[in-house]
């Protein structure tokens, strides 16, 4: 079977060519770029932009409109509601991504409902109300869902008794655990690894087969794998979102690359810092949520890898030319950014 990443790309190809999304694409273009006449500031467009910054695909945009997420609080909120047509389009896009995620997590949900819910990439955001998802043909997702369930991370959780450890935990406890892991691992700078994680991985290396291990250590290692699953789904959702909107996979290659400033590995990530010419624009998605392909080849030196930006700084240097410094973590074949942490 193909890797999860390959199956997601196959699914993206299908979604990209579906006529069904033409109205949604038009709606997104209007929400993003067309402002009311003679208006310097258009709150409706601003809300869409802020929704994109939530890095939660259509869910984030719908939530932003529901919560009236505007940048200037005193601005009039007139005409900031989505029209019926606009809402229907966004819900259609969201339904596809949401359905895919729930199919991937259904087995885990059956075993532990709280855990299944928390593994959804949108679980840290407020729920959206008044949205009834559109019925869609799920056969489209069959291969991609199967390949998700065949990933080493997923199998190591579902084929062992790993989930039993969470049976007695309350929803709040699970939420707090994943909240702190997310902050410590995903949101922290890629080159900073907490000392306790380094020590835990050192201990893990010395474990022998069938050895009784510390329960807290075991629970932490399982939590890392669950966090990896969440990130894998988050990357898949971002790729599906881009293809639903007709965007092609972003490729960063020799035509933008000035320098590879850092090429490094640690206990959590393999990461690079690259310097690019100009800015990297992504009109419908926050660059820090976007999966891209980095390709560089010169003689025997070749880099061909998928990545997700963890930090990006664009410098508008005028006469010296604009540059962007981008740090990204690499994604493996399962779209897992923390494979150094989840593999033994």
């Amino acid at each position: 079977m193909s890797s999860f990443r390959d199956e997601i790309f196959q699914l993206c190809k299908k979604l990209n060519s579906m006529e069904q999304f033409s109205s949604l694409r038009q709606t997104m273009h209007e929400l993003r770029f067309l402002s009311s006449e003679n208006e310097l500031y258009d709150p409706k467009r601003d809300i869409c932009f802020n929704g994109i910054l939530l890095r939660a695909e259509f869910y984030g945009i719908l939530l932003a409109y529901e919560k009236k997420l505007i940048s200037i609080p005193s601005t009039s909120l007139k005409n900031t509601d989505l029209s019926e047509k606009e809402k229907k389009d966004l819900v259609l896009g969201h339904s596809y991504i949401s359905k895919f995620i729930s199919l991937c997590l259904e087995e885990i949900k059956e075993k532990n409902c709280f855990l299944g819910n928390i593994l959804s990439p949108y679980s840290f955001l407020f729920p959206i109300e008044n949205v009834s998802e559109t019925e869609i043909d799920v056969s489209l997702f069959h291969d991609a869902v199967d390949s998700f369930k065949s990933t080493s991370v997923y199998r190591s959780i579902i084929e062992t008794n790993a989930l039993q450890a969470f049976t007695l935990a309350s929803e709040e406890m699970i939420r707090n655990l994943f909240g702190s892991l997310y902050k410590e691992i995903i949101q922290a700078p890629t080159d900073c690894v907490p000392k306790d994680i380094i020590l835990l991985k050192d201990r893990e290396k010395s474990w022998r087969p069938n050895q009784q291990v510390n329960a807290i250590d075991a629970l932490q290692l399982i939590s890392f794998k669950l966090l990896a699953l969440r990130e894998m789904l988050s990357h898949a959702a971002s790729l599906l979102y881009d293809s639903i909107l007709g965007s092609k996979l972003l490729v960063i290659d020799e035509n933008k690359l000035i320098n590879i400033e850092k090429n490094s590995d640690n206990t959590i990530y393999s990461y690079r810092t690259i310097l690019l010419q100009g800015s990297v624009l992504s009109p419908y998605n926050d660059m820090l949520n976007r999966v891209f392909l980095f390709h560089f080849e010169k003689g025997p030196f070749r880099m061909h890898e998928f990545g997700r930006a963890s930090s990006m700084t664009t410098k508008f240097a005028n006469e010296n030319g604009d540059t962007t410094k981008l740090t990204y973590c690499t994604l493996d074949e399962e779209l897992n950014p923390i494979s150094n942490l989840t593999k033994r």
């Binding site: 900073c192 020799e254 690359l257 000035i258 006469e319």
Partner: protein, 364 residues
């Protein structure tokens, strides 16, 4: 290519001393042996040819330094023929049957400038310049397909005299772009300032630089009052394509469009052919050369004088580099010890402090 810097107060003298080490038979034999050249029975004859050619070349070069423009181009051209013959024989271990110069001059009698004189490459097999090109250029090199070049085109293609050539002939046909090299905290950038705001014309000019798009990222354009500032950055791991002058300023060399071809000739070809053109004028067309030297009103004479000085300095350097397969730089400066202590820039210190603060925060 290995780079050797020689610190000297007299670069030309030092340069010729290096070349004239090959005016000794033992040195020539050693060179043949070290480079796997087997001259066979003709070894002695070839050695004499090399010795005589190089000594004559040196003599002509020295004489040209003190001569006026009435004879200086001719002396320098003869010196260069001898230098090239000696070097070609040394490089190949063969003798050559050379038939003529490999070039012809067409005099443009109606035009009031020397630069309008045209030079045509002929005799691809045994013409002097073609034989030398086959030895001096490491790959197979042929000038036979080239059409006519004007003296003006040639002089505009030599970076060291580009400013004077532009002042003399105008900026409509330029073949060298001087680069301002700047070290920034985001690496080295190169900058060119063009007059006017015609970005399309600038882009068209840059597209006439061979391998430009392979070596550089897309240029960025910033308009200022009367100028356009073009900033260039190299693609990652791509070799530079710029030409480094004697003073080590960088230039981009624009190709000549001849027929459907985009041509950038080696610098020695521009200089050798220009010397041939000027030598022919002063030897065989005094009715043009004499008034040019005495009555020039355009200032072209200043350009020719500068060209003669640069050719005298550069051509032997190019030949020495080729013979010894390294890049010789003769510099008039004092010795400075190598500094291996890395001095961090302000931005690097800031980055280090920022990283340290984050690391401490994480482990608190």
């Amino acid at each position: 290519m290995r780079r050797i810097t020689i610190l000297t107060e007299q670069p030309e003298k030092e340069l010729w001393e290096k070349i004239l080490q090959y005016s000794y038979k033992a040195r020539i034999q050693k060179y043949f042996a070290m480079n796997g050249i087997e001259p066979g029975e003709k070894s002695d004859m070839l050695s004499e040819t090399i010795i005589c050619s190089l000594l004559q070349a040196n003599e002509y070069y020295r004489l040209s330094r003190d001569a006026s423009l009435h004879t200086a181009p001719l002396l320098l051209y003869y010196g260069t023929i001898n230098l090239f013959l000696g070097a070609s024989t040394l490089l190949s271990g063969k003798d050559f049957s050379i038939n003529g110069h490999g070039m012809k001059v067409n005099i443009c009698k109606d035009v009031s400038e020397i630069g309008a004189t045209t030079i045509h490459f002929v005799s691809p097999k045994d013409g002097g310049i073609n034989v030398f090109a086959g030895q001096i250029e490491s790959q197979d090199y042929s000038l036979m397909d080239l059409q006519t070049f004007s003296l003006r085109e040639m002089l505009l293609s030599i970076p060291e005299i580009n400013l004077e050539a532009l002042q003399c002939y105008g900026e409509s046909d330029n073949y060298c772009i001087p680069l301002e090299t700047i070290r920034t905290e985001d690496g080295v950038i190169e900058r060119v300032i063009f007059s006017g705001h015609d970005h399309k014309a600038i882009a068209a000019m840059l597209s006439r630089i061979p391998a430009f798009s392979t070596s550089y990222l897309n240029p960025s354009f910033v308009d200022r009052k009367d100028n356009t500032i073009v900033t260039l950055r190299h693609k990652y791991m791509q070799d530079p394509i710029c030409y480094s002058s004697i003073t080590e300023q960088s230039y981009l060399l624009i190709g000549h469009i001849h027929g459907e071809k985009l041509i950038v000739l080696p610098q020695w070809v521009y200089m050798y052919a220009s010397l041939f053109g000027m030598a022919t004028l002063c030897r065989y067309h005094p009715y043009l050369w004499n008034p040019f030297i005495r009555l020039d009103e355009k200032g072209e004479r200043l350009l020719v004088e500068k060209f003669i000085n640069i050719a005298r300095r550069k051509l032997p350097n190019i030949i020495l580099n080729r013979i010894e397969n390294c890049e010789y730089s003769f510099e008039n400066r004092k010795y400075v010890p190598e500094n291996q202590v890395k001095v961090l820039g302000e931005h690097e210190v800031k980055d280090l402090v920022r990283e340290e603060i984050i690391r401490k925060d994480m482990n608190r």
